[in-house]
Symmetry: D2
Subunit: 306 residues, 4 copies
């Protein structure tokens, strides 16, 4: 595995076309596009890394996997009255589907859906408390109490977050948010600004590899059925309107973030975190996707073969 990761890293670091770093969040636009890191946490507890795997980056939408998990724990199937579970076929920040479907987001991984999920887990609490709860959960599943939020990124998002504010107010106009829009948005932007390394992120995904139990710690996080269901949502909706492409090329459940990270789950095999800030035209990490494609090719981990 270490050889595989080293080979991938060497090959990708030589690439000239690395995509484009997200521009719409000023603080993210300053990140050096030349970086690449990858970390694989195996079901047996071993971990392999290459490149800048211990550099912190902004996980952004990958945090949606964690808040969905929390929401399912708190609300159970009632989550599905707040969001659907179908691919939307639209970009991550589209509002058209909301208008056609009474303000109910198609799935928890488009921005509107993640905002609705954040609202769902607030349950009357303040942003500070909700964020503490989210951080606590992420630290728990990653088994690392040092994970935190990058306030500079959060403030940067808040200042330029008109599109998300539009989505939130739109849902609110249908009575779909139970807390004030500004508080939901504040929580949303902050939880997107969690900083993690590839190593931490790969650990955090392990419970989805092993049917709900973190094999490193032996602690059950969710039921086996719920782990499979979260994986199905990552497969179907984890890369917005590039989810079909990701399934076709990589063949694993995965969730990308605009910070350039991707968390991919090979059930029974391992949890893979990859990071490279350059994005493709849909907003998914360009080299990150390529790294996963190479990794799956070399390991045969696609869920679509055996």
């Amino acid at each position: 595995m270490q050889d595989i990761l080293d080979d991938i890293t060497a090959e990708l670091l030589a690439r000239e076309d690395r995509g484009t770093v997200a521009q719409y969040i000023p603080e993210l636009a300053t990140v050096d596009a030349q970086q690449f890191g990858i970390s694989v946490a195996l079901a047996d507890g071993r971990t392999f890394s290459a490149g800048s795997a211990s550099t912190l980056f902004s996980v952004q939408s990958i945090s949606k996997v964690f808040t969905l998990t929390i929401a399912l724990g708190k609300l159970g199937d009632a989550v599905w009255s707040r969001v659907g579970r179908e691919p939307s076929g639209d970009p991550f920040n589209s509002i058209v589907q909301l208008e056609h479907e009474n303000g109910k987001p198609r799935n928890p991984f488009i921005n509107a859906g993640a905002i609705a999920i954040v609202d769902a887990i607030m349950m009357g609490h303040q942003p500070r408390e909700t964020l503490a709860e989210i951080l606590q959960f992420v630290r728990f599943i990653a088994n690392d109490s040092s994970i935190g939020i990058d306030e500079t990124v959060a403030r940067s998002e808040l200042k330029t977050g008109d599109r998300n504010a539009s989505l939130a107010h739109f849902m609110a106009s249908f009575g779909r948010l139970k807390h004030p829009v500004d508080k939901v948005l504040g929580t949303y932007f902050h939880h997107c600004s969690i900083s993690m390394t590839c190593e931490q992120l790969a650990q955090a995904g392990l419970f989805l590899v092993a049917d709900g139990v973190n094999p490193s710690t032996g602690v059950r996080v969710v039921s086996a059925q719920r782990a499979r269901r979260i994986n199905s949502l990552m497969m179907m909706c984890g890369h917005y309107d590039g989810s079909g492409e990701f399934a076709y090329r990589v063949g694993l459940p995965g969730k990308s973030g605009v910070g350039g990270g991707i968390l991919a789950i090979a059930p029974g095999k391992g949890s893979i975190a990859v990071w490279s800030p350059g994005l493709d035209h849909i907003g998914n990490s360009k080299l990150g996707t390529e790294a996963l494609e190479m990794l799956v090719h070399k390991t045969g981990w696609s869920v679509f073969g055996h």
Copy 2:
């Protein structure tokens, strides 16, 4: 496995709510909704069946898996200039996406996409020749030369096929069909009218279980990579705007047909064909989906767990 199938069949035959038989194709509307059949072809060559597994039914859209496979064989990646590979988020017969995207269907499994695929494999031939080629391929992968087309169903579809005619003419107006619309539609309607039993259909899916090789015959049908890719498309797009729901509940690549059949693939494990004519509101077999959900629960075959 036989016990599992018997249990599922017994339980489902007792169900009162069996969904609604498709009404828009007159010939299909006459089918007895009380029927249920299931067949599982294992990777090791053994086959198990229960219920009406040897009753012929109209495979309808399941045939799209076969034409996609043929198209990939004939055109390779050039197929993707004709159709995309993303879920559309829209119903099977929607035309909105076509107008917004210059007449290019989102994927090969929505009706427009399947029509475009049929046009792609015609390559200047007549409908009769193309249908012969499709039938030959289906007989080959199912290892059963008795498989044929139900002309009564085909004629019934042709007479009520205005929506598909609209899709075809719409694509033609963008120059996306290379053959006359009536010939493409004639071929399309006939290939949807292939009749198969659950036993035959499960056999036909086996090459997708074993990385492209039919384990019963040892013959390679497609490359391992292509088999995985076809599976990924079935997972992402095989149940129209119910694909997310199917992934969530069943967790296998699958393709449904409006005749009430579903073909599901458990990579490395088995090929499952299930049939019950009653449909849910999206147009997928109601009991068929439930049967697969039960089967996966009992076998642990979901691709999202291990």
Copy 3:
């Protein structure tokens, strides 16, 4: 008036940018873009013309005004169960609105709406009979029995009419057409291929100037209320998604055709027919619109001033 028309003609004939002749109907694409004609029929019976006002051109969508008038005569308000009377905000050949509104066209002047109107006036008759009826009506209101259909244009449209065929089949799939799609389309394409001169067309519009009575003949064509209502539809929907622009610049009810003709009505003042084959990007005659803008500026005929 003659001076006004001469001035306009002189000025416009000197223009270099004349727009683009419609390309999608091969027979129309061969028309010489350099031509310009204008004719004004006053409410008092006098007629003034300039340029190529006695050259025949294909009226195309202007014929929709005549079929709507016939339909209102035959069906009365029942017409509005077949089509709406709102601007669609979409291009003339859009199908999106149809899918969102159960196959009912927004208004009688978009293509789908005009096809529905043709179906409505067929009333069980054959295309030949319906076309004879339409021609008879146009000859009657223009007081000119020489008006006919250009068969070459009709055949040219039929061959390239996939978009309209798509619209027709789409409506048929909602049960909105009462006659076979091919017969409705045949009638539709032929009635679009009526050839008229500016002089004839200006005469044909006179009944809309004088509250339903043709002032040249004294014969009542429709009631005063119906004339006003037809004018309102021309104002709101007569130029597709350029209707607002036409109202803003010209300020008269008008209907354009892709052949480059426009019929505009100045209630109480006159009926204006203008023709120049070059179109703007929306599909309305470029010089024709400018001519009307100049005419209204010089005459003060806008309905929005006094």
Copy 4:
């Protein structure tokens, strides 16, 4: 004219079906639906009224006519880089069109367009200053310095204005607003909350009757061409997706408000203000529209006849 208005008022006050008072702005929902008022200001300076013509009501979207007029005065044709001038075919608060057209509203009378117009006239000033300017203009054209804003309504709107906040943030995300969203919205909600009587509103519309000059005062407000153009926009877009219906039934340029008021312009004849709080399903005053239909029938003022 007095007899006409008395007859209309008597007939309408007897109606049982008065539509539904707007519910989404709490303060408006409390208005008594039984009220009806009408006022006609003739081009010759005489004014006739009936019913509750001197009762104050919230003009709401009718104020969009005034801000458009101000914007055209300040920016001239540059206004059209901020908003289009086509009917949208969508409801007043739709956001779909914005996503498809890069955040540029179709016209100045849908909510998004009016918000963009308010932003355009702010020109760096504070809400308070902009509102003072708007009020000053309305008082000027109505020749009545007592006109003011109902703060209770404005606050009520602000509290429940999520849909408009969504529209504003959406445009802001495309860089289409030059001022902070909250300031633009504050100004927007306040200027919608101008209270006027039918008598005042009829006066305020007079400059559009007489080619830009208020015939009561002899003062030119806008050029004749601009008056005609504003009228054209009221005709095409003044009643949202009910504009075609209004043109068909009434045949005058008009602008409705969700408070139940309608301002209609009969060029050269008179300015009509009507008010009745009950709305039809599109959001336009039900009895108000009927009153205008009756008035035009009795006076022959439709712009589509003579």
